[in-house]
Symmetry: D4
Subunit: 206 residues, 8 copies
């Protein structure tokens, strides 16, 4: 089994949410803000649901970057590592220690903006032996061309480019697993699948 075939479990991974700050979010134009928000919330709920440790970091939130979006802190809590200046979160000792403290070698990362706050720590962590899932749809950036260039560069460097729903499904593994049903609920709640479920319930109840 090669490295690209290894998979996530609730026990082997940590979630890193990097710089999803309100002043940066408004700069993102590679996907609709409502879609981006749903993806971010879904990814956060995945971690909470299975008890996966998470690390939230912000870059100078007291400045124009602004605070971490409440959609994240409402789910994952407001234990935020405020970096005093490091752009690449991987260079923040506090951030790295938080990751290392989990003892886990797989990191699920998302960041705003994709080409900086996600790409830099993703590449750095891979270079040190971590297996990184860069969740590009729970991230965002200036425009689609920037997102596409970042995907190429991360893939070239050995990062696994991922999406939030596939990460959830990889963690879930089986509908009969401990968190299977709950994770299915998270998926539905943050996609149009909930309407399929609503229809099913009504049809099934007749």
């Amino acid at each position: 089994m090669n490295k690209f075939a290894e998979t996530l479990t609730p026990d082997n991974a940590v979630l890193a949410m990097i710089d999803h700050q309100t002043g940066l979010l408004v700069s993102c134009r590679d996907q609709d803000p409502h879609l981006m928000t749903a993806n971010i919330k879904g990814l956060s709920m995945m971690a909470k649901t299975v008890g996966m440790p998470s690390v939230i970091t912000a870059s100078m939130p007291e400045g124009p970057n602004g605070p971490i979006m409440p959609e994240i802190t409402d789910i994952l809590g407001d234990n935020i590592i405020n970096r005093a200046g490091e752009i690449n979160a991987w260079k923040s000792p506090e951030f790295r220690h938080a990751i290392e403290a989990t003892g886990r070698k797989k990191i699920i990362m998302a960041g705003i903006v994709t080409d900086v706050c996600l790409m830099f720590p993703a590449i750095s962590a891979v270079a040190e032996g971590y297996d990184v899932y860069a969740v590009v749809d729970a991230s965002g950036t200036w425009n689609s061309a920037v997102a596409e260039a970042s995907i190429h560069r991360m893939t070239q460097a050995g990062v696994k480019v991922a999406t939030w729903a596939s990460v959830l499904a990889e963690v879930m593994d089986d509908w009969r697993s401990e968190h299977g049903l709950a994770l299915g609920g998270v998926l539905g709640e943050h996609t149009s699948y909930r309407w399929v479920y609503n229809s099913f319930l009504q049809a099934n109840s007749q």
Copy 2:
């Protein structure tokens, strides 16, 4: 003042939500489902916030069309006019009476799918002297070409093609009006403007 310059107030209009049923929603591909959902919720909250009467109708919800999406009933209640077969809601006596009972001559309409459930009653009501706002972004349909054709036909027939945020703003009229601040909150909650507001609060509090 011509008819196209008349404006909405909390007291001269009624909201009609037509066939936002789960089995129809999944068929819509002219806008992202998360954006469509936010638009529908925002429009519903507008009515609730100012106490504007609303009429919800569904077409045979016990069949594959499925139930009205919970996002609407959670806000506007589940007093739904279930039509037994009329496609054009305007041809349903119960629906028409509900509109007429409000005594209002301006109707804010949204419907799934745009080219049928919204367009037919919009054109019918205009023909009988109503002033109709067809909220195309709180509606949805098969694809963008269908939506565009519907916009042309509704405009040709004298319907005002509108969007949910402009309807909210038209009803709001002034930030100092009775419901001004509350409506501003509704706008923010359902657009990326909430992030602007989050940033402002933090910067302002320092």
Copy 3:
């Protein structure tokens, strides 16, 4: 009631399918060919289902324009008016007589290409007092910009720009009407709604 609020019935309209010939179809690039085909078949089935008279015409099918696509003749038969040269079908005496013979004053028209084979007869017929529904998604043309220009010009001239599903729904009027269920079946068969129906049947049968 103004003219734009009048509606189609099985008894007041005739379907005109103009120049859907294989040599012209391959030139269309304003929508995916599979979508265009489904729209054309759906519109044809609508007429057959309710027994609405239809007129099919072709422009010099023995030449490079080629034969009428079998998807149409399989449904509506091969009684085709082969025009010897007239580009605007409305100028073909045989075509006009076929329309007039039905005694109907509403014409549902589709044609390949939109900007010629549909637009010309649509505008001509409106000028002579007919109520024309130009079904733009059961038509097709060189590219999207050409389709958009045609929509503006037809709307300006008083043509009703329509889509096949909205025409079907307008003819259907009520699910309890004579052809209600059959038309619902036609709609499902030619859209993704059939999957909604499949899901419903299975859920409902348990």
Copy 4:
């Protein structure tokens, strides 16, 4: 000569720039921010160049909407009418008086967001007999579908939908006019035409 054929001159029109505030600008996703900025600057420079009077207004700039973008005040000055609550600028007595004080009956308007801050005063002014040019590309809004709906509704109400370069050219009228060359410079400075001019100068000088 009908109203739609009347034209702008430096002496018959006033420019109204409505709510181009930094907290609203970041919400616009119907065109690239750099293109939107260039369009806004070009339109402002047009007025300055010909000495056309301009009126700038802001909606509660001390709140999250933020200040008027410096790109405008750098050109047109910071004489801003801060509205205390009116959403439709036309309902602000101070704004209306500023327009009326110019004695001009043609208004070139732009606003953020298109569907509210531009559309409402545009329709209101037309209803009172003004000839309004709604400069849609020096405006901006949530997404392209909202922009398109607004264009249909403004056109329906008698507003002239315009673009900044066409407004400049209409005011310019003739390259030999008083401001001809200067306006040509403004056009070049805010479009890719400046590169054509650079190439010309170099080739011509050899």
Copy 5:
């Protein structure tokens, strides 16, 4: 018969090609340059083929606007009216006289850029009683949003928005007409239809 149903003939129309200059062509980004070129050549060939009079005008071609593209002069000759400054060609006495000298009241117009060089003379001519076909796909402009705004404004002012292939077909009228076959050849030569024709010839010859 209303004005919008009148049609072009080789004898009732004149072609006006306005400002298709190399320095302006490179600024157009609303359609691919190869498509735009084919449309322009096809429209020019239509006029030449039926002997329809044409008027070519340029705006200061000795400056950065550059010369009329050779694709036009190769077909229609280099009898060009060089305007010394008038932006709206309709305001050039020489241009107007050239149009009036033909004695024709229908003008087929194309221009670069759409929102200025085409839109202004199109609206002006309509206001003076001409029937104007604005050929938007043999024109071009900065981007698609500008093109769309121009289509709305021209339609509002009574201009017929058209495309080159539909103009050719309207002039052709019948494949058996004097210029029928030649015009069919022009259509094929400037669209993908030539491949359909190539295939036909080979299949037919076996």
Copy 6:
């Protein structure tokens, strides 16, 4: 010859159709549903035509995921492996045994949704030495960005990203092969090529 240059034959490959269930199909928005359906049918017909073994699996079809789409079972039969919970079909012993029982080491896979039901088993099988063709256009997912990310990750892991028509052509190899003409018919039936064929037949018969 490296692994990426090996090719499919009717005898060395097995087709795996994974989770094309009606409740999942309606969630796909990365391609038009009619195009997706044609691709799925074409791929299924390819296998049937050459007698290639196929394995169909579904994830909890009695729930909201719904049944396998009839378009597949009509062609390949309803011998479906219903997984009781495994998300990655490769982890289902019954599915793996079905694949292994064919003795073939090349797997043509398609699945709904691409980023889960196709990507997981594709990567797993490659890791165990299989040569996997992931047919991305006979699959579908939430939106185009998700599809693109999945293509990058599958390619990185050594999966061959493919399309249904190229798979058919690879299996066909030669028009003179045993199934050559039949496969050509399948290709035509599920693409616009059938119109080319219709035109040819008519031209050739004259």
Copy 7:
């Protein structure tokens, strides 16, 4: 120097034009036909201009695939290798011998459709040690998603994905080379660069 940094010269490469047949060209929808034609002609002219050997092949041109497009044979002559059935041209002994007879190990390939007629021989040739440039914009296929999948698979297999203008520039190497000016002319003739050149000539001559 690794293989990916080797470059083309007039003397080390051969051009292979595969299956650009009229019946296949009309099926391409991943780029505008006029752009595709210009790219194909430009690539062909490159080879002719430098005297690079070329091999043209067609798949059963007497059938619905139709003849090689005249745009190619007009430039490269009609010495065509008609394959009797092989889909992958590399499997045609006559085609391979034609390539081998040139003694060159770099092949510039283009083909219709990209995912079959270009991709198969490109991958096969790379596997046998050739350096293959797959000119994707002088090729074409069903839609953009198919083109994108093919680009990923060819890149994975070691093919160099290229565009016609970059191939021309690589062969040209230096404007002062033997064919430098002539190749510059070819580039201009098949791109919008010719307008830049026209402008330059006029400005320079004054």
Copy 8:
């Protein structure tokens, strides 16, 4: 640490701006010209701000290619290496010496057009051991498909595909670094982030 994880510093890299000439810029259609300009200016300002050496080169600027755009020379000066004919700047001894003279082994490159002026020297330099950042959004080319093909080929050859903002952030490293604040200013000045900053200042000052 592998090569793909190495990072830029003000001291280990040189900026190469290749052929951003006015006659080539007007040929670019893969991104809006205003966005492209902002990206180019931002990248140039990055180098100036940190005192990074830069090399500007032009290809025959006295001809139709025209002069280097003033946006670059205004920032980086007009010390331009005019190549007499070499297309691949890497083959120009003067250009190579300028790079080598800096003693730096990392090159940040941008060029017009992407597929030639950027791609060729990027691949050549990587082959000789340099670490090349190809800044694709400060480059430009004929259309998006050409840009995408170039990204695949450069990535395949070991070039790091990058964007200007990520390059700036990589050089910046830390907001507290010597040039941190200044670089933050450059970022803001050339993106919509400046509006976020304007809003922050105003809110913070109250």
